[in-house]
């Protein structure tokens, strides 16, 4: 107990933070304090704090704060996007899914991946050419600033908050397991470090934290795989023969299984993951950190290369784990092979690292997982803060009259507010089943952000009225579909049967958003709607050529 307390305090002090009276609660499963992991994590924190200090000196204007002054290169941004996209849930969740479900994990990965080419072909250059700080800059380009921005900010915040809660709860549980730290302390460490990165270093620091972490993750994952795969002579044939021989699915290990049992769920999932990616505010924001459309395109090229590579790495890691972890009594509670894995199902990747690389590699991968959560919540907090400060405060409340200084100040306050909210919600939701939250975030992104964004760029006929109906229709229907589905109605609220039979909302909520946007634009005969449609012409030329787009400030 006292040793853990010392560990926690050392960690906090070394990070340059003070925390009064951390609540120590020894309940729940906790691993012994993992010194390798803590030391490596401290090195990461020290490095990123150095970067934040350097970035703070360069963060003066709103452009610096929101978009790193547009001075990030395509390659750097590609790494940062890949970093935003490869969260701890990806590393741990998808390895675990492959370990238990086999091929189903790989199907998920393709659905996560396939959105990227589409984003490149249809969105990347228009996003860069039209946007400045937030994606609401684009949707409100020729529409009513106040109403459309408010709508975009609300749906952005819904996505950010749900995603943030999922990350925080995951973080607390993971860190408790990996580092032997108390859940509440873990939540505080994540929340406070995130506030420091974002308030002081803005997008410059957030981007570099993300880049460093992406490199660590790619390195750690690849090394683990190489060590594990070498035990099978790098032969997929050997690996599959052995894995199918011992896995409970047997020869079905490499066939689609129960996760995507019915066609509607499979297709809805495919839609939600593909178009949800194209509606996540923290991902969209990354397109504004590069200097021009050329770099924006390169960002996607590099990002999709890293993401695609890494998904293939973790799939093979999962298969190797079937043999290496699944046959080693050391990793099972009570030493019974086939029983409960120590630390739960999500620990597969960590056990694999320990088995093939000892405590050193386990420590490294654990530090990477912590860093990953930290980097992803920082990106989310910045996206949420910009929706509050840039969209709601500067544009809607002050109607463009706020000075840059005031706007940045509001941003920082918003970041601290979001950070504290994340800490409180993270603690409140500790014991809840939060599996639905990531799905909800993707569902709202796909059903509210994406339809309005794509229509505003492609369809001349979109009017304010249509955008509002489409956007709000998308948010509300996505939220209701998730609320009435099994994952909330039954698993969280404890009702007998779900009112909505599917867990994935996208296939149903997206058409509602598109349909509403179409009907209410078409039936809009106001004088204002005529002006909005006429303004499309100039917007179209700018979208295509980038002429008039905000450039790099340094």
């Amino acid at each position: 107990m006292s040793k853990r307390l010392t560990t926690a305090l050392t960690l906090l002090m070394l990070s340059g933070l003070a925390l009064a009276g951390p609540a120590m609660d020894a309940s729940g499963v906790k691993q012994p304090t993992n010194w390798h992991a803590i030391i490596m994590f401290l090195i990461f924190v020290a490095m990123t704090m150095g970067i934040t200090y350097w970035a703070a000196g360069r963060t003066k204007s709103t452009a610096d704060f929101y978009t790193a002054g547009g001075g990030i290169t395509g390659f750097q941004n590609g790494l940062a996007i890949a970093g935003d996209y490869m969260s701890a849930a990806t590393l741990l969740g998808l390895t675990a899914m492959t370990y238990t479900q086999g091929y189903d994990g790989y199907i998920y990965m393709l659905a996560f991946f396939a959105g990227w080419p589409i984003i490149l072909f249809l969105m990347a250059e228009r996003l860069r050419n039209l946007g400045r700080f937030t994606f609401a800059d684009i949707t409100s380009y020729r529409l009513d600033q106040g109403k459309v921005r408010t709508m975009a900010a609300i749906s952005s915040l819904v996505v950010v908050v749900f995603y943030l809660i999922a990350q925080m709860v995951g973080a607390g549980q993971l860190i408790k397991l990996l580092f032997g730290l108390d859940y509440n302390i873990a939540i505080f460490v994540v929340g406070i470090l995130m506030m420091v990165y974002v308030t002081l270093g803005g997008m410059v620091a957030t981007t570099w934290v993300q880049i460093i972490k992406a490199c660590m993750l790619l390195f750690g994952g690849t090394l683990t795989l190489l060590l594990a795969y070498s035990q099978f002579g790098f032969s997929l044939t050997t690996l599959l023969e052995k894995a199918e021989a011992i896995h409970k699915l047997g020869p079905k290990l490499m066939a689609p299984g129960s996760l995507l049992a019915d066609p509607i769920t499979a297709i809805s999932l495919g839609l939600g993951l593909m178009f949800g990616t194209a509606g996540l505010p923290h991902i969209l924001m990354r397109f504004f950190t590069v200097g021009n459309a050329k770099e924006a395109r390169k960002s996607v090229l590099y990002a999709s290369g890293f993401v695609g590579f890494f998904f293939n790495v973790i799939f093979l890691m999962g298969l190797c784990a079937v043999l290496i972890v699944g046959q080693n009594p050391e990793f099972f509670e009570g030493g019974t092979i086939g029983g409960k894995l120590i630390g739960g199902g999500n620990m597969v990747a960590m056990h694999l690292a320990k088995a093939v690389g000892g405590n050193m590699l386990l420590g490294f991968l654990a530090a990477v997982a912590f860093a990953t959560i930290l980097a992803v919540v920082s990106g989310l907090a910045l996206a949420g803060a910009s929706a509050i400060s840039h969209d709601i405060y500067a544009r809607v409340i002050r109607k463009g009259q706020a000075t840059e200084k005031e706007e940045i100040r509001v941003s920082r306050i918003a970041t601290i507010g979001l950070g504290m909210l994340a800490i409180v919600l993270g603690i409140l939701f500790e014991k809840m089943n939060i599996a639905f939250m990531v799905g909800l975030a993707f569902g709202v992104a796909a059903a509210a952000n994406f339809p309005v964004l794509i229509l505003s760029m492609y369809w001349k006929g979109l009017t304010t009225r249509g955008a509002l109906w489409g956007g709000y229709g998308g948010v509300i229907s996505a939220v209701l579909f998730v609320l009435f589905s099994k994952s909330v109605w039954v698993d969280v609220l404890g009702n007998k049967a779900a009112l909505f039979p599917y867990t994935q909302p996208a296939l149903f909520a997206m058409p509602i958003a598109f349909l509403f946007a179409y009907i209410f634009s078409k039936s809009d005969t106001s004088a204002r709607s005529k002006l909005e449609q006429d303004a499309f012409e100039d917007q179209y030329v700018r979208a295509q050529t980038g002429f008039g787009a905000s450039g790099a400030s340094h």
Partner: protein
């Protein structure tokens, strides 16, 4: 001011050509990706058994894994193809057009 320049670009035949050529190229690639992706998901949804079979007698390579691996590589190659052409040919055309629009006397 910029509205005048936008107007000049819009009437420039090169703009029409750029939009047509790039649009067709982007939509062709997008269609290929979408058809392959949802085609694959239809297989997952309606014929999962097929994906579990081996590509050939005596081989351990499952059909589903092989298809997906090919899709991963192919989808990434489509991004390479698009970025090369958009950052080269199309951006040169755009730059030329912007130059012309700015050169004209108001």
């Amino acid at each position: 001011m910029s509205s005048v320049i936008y107007e000049r670009m819009r009437v420039n035949p090169k703009f029409q050509e750029l939009v047509r050529r790039r649009g067709r190229f982007a939509w062709t690639l997008a269609t290929i990706v979408l058809v392959l992706f949802y085609g694959f998901f239809m297989l997952v949804a309606f014929n999962p058994g097929l994906l579990g079979q081996r590509i050939a007698e005596g081989s351990m390579w499952p059909i589903g894994y092989t298809i997906e691996l090919v899709l991963f590589v192919f989808f990434w190659l489509t991004t390479v193809v698009y970025v090369r052409r958009a950052n080269g040919e199309f951006d040169d055309l755009t730059a030329e057009m912007i130059r012309e629009a700015q050169k004209e006397k108001p």
